[in-house]
């Protein structure tokens, strides 16, 4: 892995490293996080508000479980994107009625079309802080007016910080809830609700975490 003179990794290197790590983590992720109650509840929140057959983007879909599966089962047209081939392989297997693209969430482009909702569950935490505002803007642009945006993050104060996750080195970013509220508001989202949930992974190697779920809507002004 090469480093830029400022000590940061180049974007392509970072993507490659993160993808490699998640290829390795693969199914262990599901073992360490067997219950995704908060995520499932957020999916239900969304399903209650969408008309059937809505287009939904699962940004950083991972294995497609549980969210892509849940939304597809509710009759929505799900598009999933992720940087890990291994995760996508599992997703295509488990959610054959959704479409999946190998794409970094930082590269969301108009060819994907517009969506009634975008969900980004624990995926933005893979990006450095510096890239997150622009990704939020790209998500904003992919949303229809009044479209919903559901974001979940692990509450932390980190910026592209190397940690060991299930035996693989990854770099993660986190915000304290106030910072995150400011961030989504600044990106043109109306914050409808914020839920937090303490979660203990089923592994003695992982510490418990506080999960933040932000329920947002694209405001009409932009």
């Amino acid at each position: 892995m090469t480093q830029n003179p400022d000590g940061r990794h180049s974007r392509a290197d970072r993507q490659a490293a993160q993808a490699w790590a998640f290829d390795r983590i693969g199914e262990h992720y599901g073992e360490a996080f067997p219950h995704k109650d908060g995520q499932v509840a957020a999916g239900e929140w969304l399903i209650e508000r969408l008309v059937p057959g809505s287009r939904v983007l699962d940004a950083g879909c991972g294995t497609g479980m549980p969210t892509a599966r849940q939304l597809a089962d509710a009759g929505h047209k799900v598009t999933g994107v992720d940087i890990s081939h291994e995760m996508l392989r599992l997703a295509r297997q488990d959610v054959p009625d959704a479409e999946f693209h190998h794409l970094d969430i930082a590269d969301l482009d108009p060819t994907l079309g517009d969506f009634a909702a975008v969900v980004a569950f624990f995926s933005l935490l893979m990006l450095p802080r510096a890239e997150i505002p622009s990704v939020l803007e790209k998500i904003h642009r992919r949303l229809e007016p009044e479209g919903y945006f559901l974001l979940s993050m692990v509450e932390a104060d980190l910026d592209d910080t190397p940690i060991h996750f299930l035996g693989s080195p990854v770099r993660v970013t986190g915000y304290i809830r106030g910072e995150l509220e400011e961030l989504v508001t600044a990106a043109g989202f109306e914050l409808l609700d914020l839920r937090h949930l303490s979660y203990a992974p089923a592994s003695t190697e992982l510490e418990p975490e506080v999960q933040l779920f932000l329920f947002c809507r694209r405001d009409g002004r932009r």
Partner: protein, 557 residues
């Protein structure tokens, strides 16, 4: 008996007497327990030598006190009758059960003060008073034989003959003296043996934890039972060690060997396990370090010492258990519904073998389940192999009990029968778990805003927990811990809040320097934080971990 002549008949008589002496000597020397020894003495004397025989021992002998030495015992030394044997002729005689040296008169007084055998009535002396020991009707003849081992006075034996029988003669005197000496030596040996067993037991117990720690999310009980003192086995140990992040290490081990040495080795191992556990490496590495340590320091008694050990870490928040084993009996997992299973942890090899690897396995530890760790003394005996023993243990555990302490009691009652020789350690931990809603954990960069973040997180979290009254104190102290932590580290720090009967706040970082408590002075900026924590918290502490340190405080709710 008279052996005046040298005829064939006399020779047969001599043979017969020698055979008796031999049998009596063997019998008196056969036991290693005080009262058994003197009982054997009395029983061999009746009826052949006397119609009644009784033995008195100094209380100091019975209580492992300082033994009286020749010449003479202190007047306030107390003697107790510990054995008696009689035949039909003297069955109605009563003897005094307990008396002081100052109460002794006549032949008893002279025997005790001189350490010599005394006969009453002695043809050469006037009749003296024997009522101090024999208050009722006068016996025919009385013989008082001191029980002494070298300079140590242990007590005396009194032999009585019914009036209708001839008085004691020289042969009887010699026989009695010989047997009394034999008994005294055996008593003395038993005393020394008992003393060593007691030292080993005291040492062993002094090095075992007394009361299980009270920890959130787990209830722990344990028991230790010494082995048969004659079998001289020991060295079992157990421990429950609180770890950062509200986890606990559960340990049971067994040093192979016996007596004081294995107890001492156990003490070293237990200390080593505690020290290693605090550093919080995975269980297999704890065992690997122990194995190396064992090789270099512990096994230096000139004997090959080995120890087995099982090491588990229970995480009540993750509801998981990580386990590694060094040749020990595997833990039994009991589910909430009473199902039991042997935890399939690789058996490993004992500590001290050297150069082997251990393996950690992780299993789910659901709420309401429990772990039982024991030593082979509980599940293995001469009559039953370990498979039968483990089956019995599982059966007993499956019956359940109100508390782990009750369950320990029930299990020992069911499994620990009298014949067992080995010592026994049993540890039972019930998994109560801590709901994840009662835990909050954050990783933070060690920069200046950390203190502000911490105050915000504590305020929202404690409000959510209905603990608004504690926000100010928790914020103040947590800010101090975080400020201390970010002073030295460049890597992210962790803040954890845990709500149980108390509020626990823990800050971990990757710097190894533990905070030191000192009275703050005007100029001393750094000592103030910990001083404040120590004054305002219910409890606080700091421990080193492999990655750095954990500093915590508790507020009473």
């Amino acid at each position: 008996m008279r052996w005046r002549g040298h005829g064939r008949a006399e020779s047969a008589e001599v043979h017969e007497h020698l055979a008796f002496l031999h049998a009596a000597t063997v019998r008196i020397g056969a036991d290693l327990e005080l009262t058994q020894v003197v009982t054997a003495l009395c029983e061999t004397m009746v009826p052949r030598v006397a119609d009644l025989a009784a033995a008195y021992l100094y209380e100091a002998v019975l209580t492992d006190g300082d033994l009286p030495a020749l010449p003479g015992a202190p007047p306030d030394a107390v003697l107790r009758q510990v054995a008696v044997a009689d035949d039909a002729r003297l069955r109605d005689r009563t003897l005094v059960g307990k008396l002081a040296v100052s109460d002794l008169t006549g032949p008893f007084a002279s025997s005790v003060s001189s350490g010599q055998l005394v006969m009453w009535p002695d043809p050469d002396h006037e009749r003296e008073d024997v009522t101090c020991v024999l208050p009722s009707a006068r016996p025919g003849s009385v013989l008082v034989a001191p029980l002494r081992a070298g300079e140590h006075m242990l007590g005396f034996a009194v032999l009585l003959r019914a009036p209708e029988r001839t008085r004691f003669d020289e042969i009887d005197l010699l026989t009695a003296a010989l047997m009394a000496d034999q008994a005294a030596l055996s008593v003395h040996k038993a005393l020394l043996y008992q003393r060593e067993a007691r030292v080993a037991d005291a040492l062993q117990r002094s090095m075992l934890p007394k009361h299980p720690p009270r920890l959130p999310g787990v209830e722990i009980a344990y028991r230790y039972l010494p082995g048969n003192p004659a079998a001289q086995v020991g060295g079992d140990w157990f421990d429950a060690i609180p770890l950062p992040g509200s986890r606990v290490a559960l340990v049971v081990g067994d040093v192979m060997g016996h007596g004081v040495h294995s107890a001492a080795t156990m003490g070293q191992l237990r200390t080593a396990v505690r020290t290693l556990a605090a550093l919080d490496p995975p269980p297999d590495q704890v065992l690997r370090h122990l194995d190396q340590l064992f090789e270099h320091t512990v096994g230096q008694y000139g004997e090959q010492y080995l120890a087995t050990c099982v090491y588990c870490v229970y995480d009540p928040v993750a509801r998981r258990c990580a386990i590694a084993n060094a040749g020990h009996v595997p833990p039994v997992l009991v589910h909430a519904d009473g199902r039991t299973e042997l935890v399939p942890v690789p058996a490993g090899v004992p500590l001290g073998v050297g150069n082997v690897s251990f393996q950690t396995i992780e299993i789910a530890a659901p709420d309401g389940g429990l772990f039982a760790l024991c030593t082979d003394g509980l599940v293995e005996s001469r009559e039953h192999d370990i498979t039968e023993g483990l089956d019995a243990l599982r059966e007993s555990l499956a019956k359940g009990a109100e508390t782990p302490d009750d369950l320990c009691e029930n299990v020992l009652h069911a499994l620990h029968t009298g014949e067992r020789e080995d010592d026994v350690a049993l540890l039972i931990a019930r998994f109560d778990g801590i709901p994840s809603a009662s835990v909050a954990n954050w990783i933070m960069r060690p920069h200046a805003q950390a203190a502000r973040h911490v105050r915000g997180l504590i305020a929202t979290t404690l409000t959510g927990w209905g603990l608004e009254d504690h926000i100010d104190a928790a914020s103040l102290l947590a800010t101090e811990l975080v400020t201390n932590a970010i002073r030295y580290t460049t890597r992210p720090i962790t803040l954890r809040l845990l709500r149980t009967e108390t509020l626990l706040c823990e800050v971990t970082d990757d710097d190894h320097h533990l905070p030191v408590l000192c009275e703050p002075s005007e100029s001393d900026e750094s000592g103030r934080g910990i001083y404040l924590v120590s004054r305002l918290s219910h409890r606080w502490g700091a421990s080193q971990t492999a990655a750095g340190k954990a500093v915590w405080f508790e507020l009473a709710l």
